[in-house]
């Protein structure tokens, strides 16, 4: 038996758009030995997922494999009949999707979904499969492995679901598993557990894996070998440690360098200026659930305050309270010494225009039916009363400011922009109101690292030019390191710790800050092993 499991040669994949076939993957070779983990990295649109799926002989709708060969354990998959592929998929090649919450059928219990594969493929009977599921749930360190399978997907957390999905992929003990960004949607603290679980179980059964991600630090923990893709072409392919230590290509180097952006600290504020925003004892929630519990914050003029915490810690709710979308139950918010009415409906446009917000997902924050001209033009008209030529001139100015060419972009629809460009347009819309204070709610978390860095640099430049004050909501501590002056750590609707960036990042930390800080993956390939050893989880 040879060690070579998967051999893809000169793979070409095309996608259909605008009534013609356009290349997505331009001839990539990929080989994988048994038990080897290959990390596929690249920006969105690089073709990582497409290539990963092609390893199963599958393409998404509207795509086709137009050239090359895919040999899995000596068997050609390209052009193989569906019946052959069906016997392989799930049994010998499995797939773990990015969002386990969307990939599980909400109407069936976890264990029933687990059993489906083995029973259909005739690997084992139902009772045996159920016993096996419990066994794997235990190995993958799910809590209460005997019972958890009898819950429905909505009854377990996101991290647990992702682990259950991995267990499910393992059910037939496949030779190859394709992991498509399995931890991208998870918090750093949860991510650790999932990464450790995946790594252990894959090693135990000597399963080969293709691990797709855009997070370099994650791939550094998981992969034996890394392949870097850029717009359908291979950039570099090398053993993980070698590539991490000594990247060869310029593009790989630029990916590595992204995390090194540090902005210069803001000059200390002038004497005699009071804080820009004061939040005093704010308590708020939805229905009977308290989400924010007695929050006190002051944000100095011209500074950047980062708010960090896991999902569910109340970060975004705080933003909604400040914006007046969710009137607080108790407490007061003052902007520049003026109390802000709790509901945005009672705020005058003159007051509201100083406080703007940029959303996490630029996709949903832009009306798909409005052209860029209307998106940016509306706040100009609404807050500043600009019309006609003056308005158009200002739109062009703003587009130039966010580094988009006005002639090219002014009449585009949001669907004709890339993710980073959309986020820039959202920034321009916020700037159009000429605000003093901008809340940035996870503005970079949906973006690739290179693009995200561009947005951070842009925000930094704008802050210096227009003396803006930012409140930066994020769960990514790398972003905090690069952009914040002061940091607030939130957990369960309460402020755990607050202070300047140096204070927060210098030990000793309160336990929660410690957990959060230590969970951020580092580029060191031994980081996960070391961390788990320190935490005593092995």
């Amino acid at each position: 038996m040879t060690d070579l499991l998967l051999q893809m040669t000169d793979i070409r994949i095309e996608g259909r758009s605008d009534r013609q076939w356009k290349p997505i993957i331009n001839g990539i070779d990929l080989s994988l030995n048994r038990g080897e983990i290959l990390g596929l990295i690249g920006e969105s649109g690089a073709g990582k997922s497409t290539l990963g799926l092609a390893a199963m002989g599958y393409t998404k709708g509207g795509c086709r494999i137009s050239g090359g060969s895919i040999r899995f354990d000596g068997q050609e998959l390209r052009g193989a009949p569906h019946s052959t592929l069906r016997k392989l998929r799930g049994k010998r090649i499995a797939y773990v999707a990015q969002s386990a919450a969307a990939a599980f059928n909400p109407a069936y219990k976890l264990i029933d979904q687990y059993c489906e594969g083995p029973v259909k493929h005739g690997v084992m009977g139902r009772a045996e499969a159920q016993r096996d599921a419990v066994e794997l749930y235990r190995k993958i360190r799910l809590p209460d492995p005997d019972q958890i399978g009898f819950r429905y997907p909505h009854q377990v957390s996101g991290g647990q679901l992702q682990r259950a999905m991995t267990a499910m992929a393992m059910s037939c003990r496949p030779d190859l598993i394709v992991f498509d960004e399995p931890t991208t949607a998870l918090d750093v603290t949860t991510q650790i557990e999932v990464l450790a679980a995946i790594r252990d179980i894959v090693r135990e059964y000597n399963t080969a894996a293709i691990y797709i991600t855009h997070d370099l630090a994650v791939v550094a923990q998981m992969a034996d070998r890394i392949k870097v893709l850029l717009r359908g072409d291979e950039v570099e392919d090398a053993p993980a440690r070698e590539m991490l230590a000594n990247p060869q290509e310029d593009y790989t180097k630029s990916l590595w360098a992204v995390r090194e952006f540090r902005r210069d600290p803001m000059p200390p504020q002038k004497e005699g200026t009071g804080p820009l925003l004061e939040i005093a004892n704010v308590t708020a929630g939805y229905g009977a659930v308290t989400v924010l519990d007695g929050i006190d914050l002051t944000i100095a003029r011209g500074s950047t305050m980062a708010i960090v915490g896991e999902s569910g810690s109340g970060k975004s709710t705080l933003a909604r309270v400040i914006m007046g979308l969710l009137p607080p139950w108790e407490g007061a918010i003052a902007f520049d010494g003026t109390p802000l009415p709790p509901s945005s409906r009672r705020r005058t446009p003159a007051l509201q225009r100083h406080v703007q917000m940029i959303h996490q997902s630029a996709d949903t924050a832009l009306n798909p039916r409005q052209r860029i001209r209307e998106v940016i033009g509306r706040p100009l008209e609404f807050f500043l009363g600009l019309k006609g030529a003056a308005k158009k001139a200002r739109i062009r100015e703003l587009l130039t400011l966010i580094e988009l060419d006005p002639d090219e972009f002014i009449d585009r629809l949001p669907s004709e922009l890339s993710g980073g460009q959309k986020q820039r347009v959202c920034i321009a819309r916020a700037l159009a109101a000429e605000p003093e204070f901008i809340i940035c709610d996870e503005v970079t978390s949906a973006l690739d690292q290179l693009v995200a860095e561009g947005i951070l640099r842009l925000l930094d430049r704008l802050q210096r030019e227009m003396s803006l004050t930012y409140m930066f909501i994020t769960h990514d501590l790398a972003t905090v390191r690069s952009i914040a002056d002061t940091v607030v750590v939130m957990q369960g609707g309460k402020v755990v710790e607050q202070g300047t960036k140096d204070e927060i990042f210098t030990p000793p930390h309160p336990p929660y800050t410690e957990l959060l800080l230590s969970s951020v993956p580092e580029m060191d390939p031994d980081w996960l092993t070391r961390l788990l050893a320190e935490r005593g989880e092995i």
């Binding site: 758009s17 959303h359 706040p379």
Partner: protein, 285 residues
């Protein structure tokens, strides 16, 4: 506008068939006085003539030219159905969008009123009201429009609720935009595609409903030509059809002509609706 031409060029054959069918009906309806060889309600020959020149589709029980009545029927049935659907949409969509955007008591009250209306079988409700009010065209249009607006209300409210959870709505609310702006500029453009598709479907239902009422004698009243009524008048002829010769067999076909006209238009509109739904769903396969 260029988008529209672009989509039209890409339209599948089925959509084109639908467009052609609806196009022909439209031409017939608008040009009825010019295209129809004889007047709508005049008795111009002996009764029950077979299909031969100059009455290519024969004459009916009162000696009226069937082809002319079919052409005028397009105008009456389709015209009234179109008017009714438009009215149903004006009422239903306005209320539905308002209910979704405003929420609160307005949403609760209007939703319950609509539930009550929907709980009563439409045909029985229409028969009851039309018996009380009498069978004028105005009453017919109003009753069917009110009944159908409940379905439009449900749809527009559901679609708008989905749109209202989007961040761009939050951005507009944070800006302090008024209700009118929210509905007109933020919600409506995004709700347009499913609403247009629903308009097509609703039109079919209204048009079948009117035909059904006419068949029962409570719809469009004679001597105005309409297809539902024509089916009723000629239905009894099926029994007298003699399929020995081509000429005598036409009696059996007489009720099928208006019924076929109804069916063909329904199919045509549905073919277009399928295509619009496909476009709006964003599927590219």
């Amino acid at each position: 506008m260029t988008d529209l031409f672009h989509s039209l060029r890409d339209a599948p054959v089925s959509a084109w068939i639908g467009i052609v069918i609806v196009g022909i009906y439209t031409i017939l309806a608008i040009g009825a006085p010019v295209l129809a060889p004889y007047p709508e309600a005049a008795s111009i020959g002996s009764q029950y003539q077979p299909w031969a020149a100059p009455h290519y589709l024969g004459t009916d029980a009162l000696g009226r030219d069937v082809m002319s009545r079919l052409i005028y029927g397009a105008r009456n049935t389709v015209g009234i159905a179109l008017l009714t659907t438009a009215l149903a949409f004006a009422m239903g969509a306005t209320l539905g969008l308002l209910a979704a955007t405003l929420g609160g008591w307005f949403d609760a009250v209007s939703a319950r009123v609509v539930d009550v209306l929907m709980a009563i079988p439409a045909l029985i409700f229409a028969l009851l009201i039309l018996t009380i009010t009498g069978t004028s065209v105005l009453a017919l249009v109003l009753v069917i429009a009110v009944l159908d607006s409940t379905r439009v209300y449900r749809l527009s409210r559901a679609v708008a609720q989905g749109i209202l959870t989007m961040d761009y709505i939050e951005v507009a609310r944070m800006r302090g935009e008024g209700l009118w702006w929210l509905i007109r500029k933020e919600v409506l453009p995004n709700a347009a595609a499913p609403m247009i598709a629903e308009f097509g479907l609703r039109f079919c239902f209204v048009f079948l409903f009117i035909s059904a009422l006419s068949f029962l004698g409570l719809g469009i009243q004679p001597p105005t030509a309409d297809w539902g009524g024509m089916v009723r008048e000629s239905a009894k002829l099926i029994g007298f059809a003699n399929f020995a010769t081509w000429q005598t067999a036409t009696f059996g076909l007489a009720p099928l002509l208006p019924a076929g006209a109804i069916a063909l238009l329904t199919i045509g509109v549905n073919l277009i609706v399928d295509w619009v739904l496909h476009l709006s769903s964003g599927l590219r396969e």
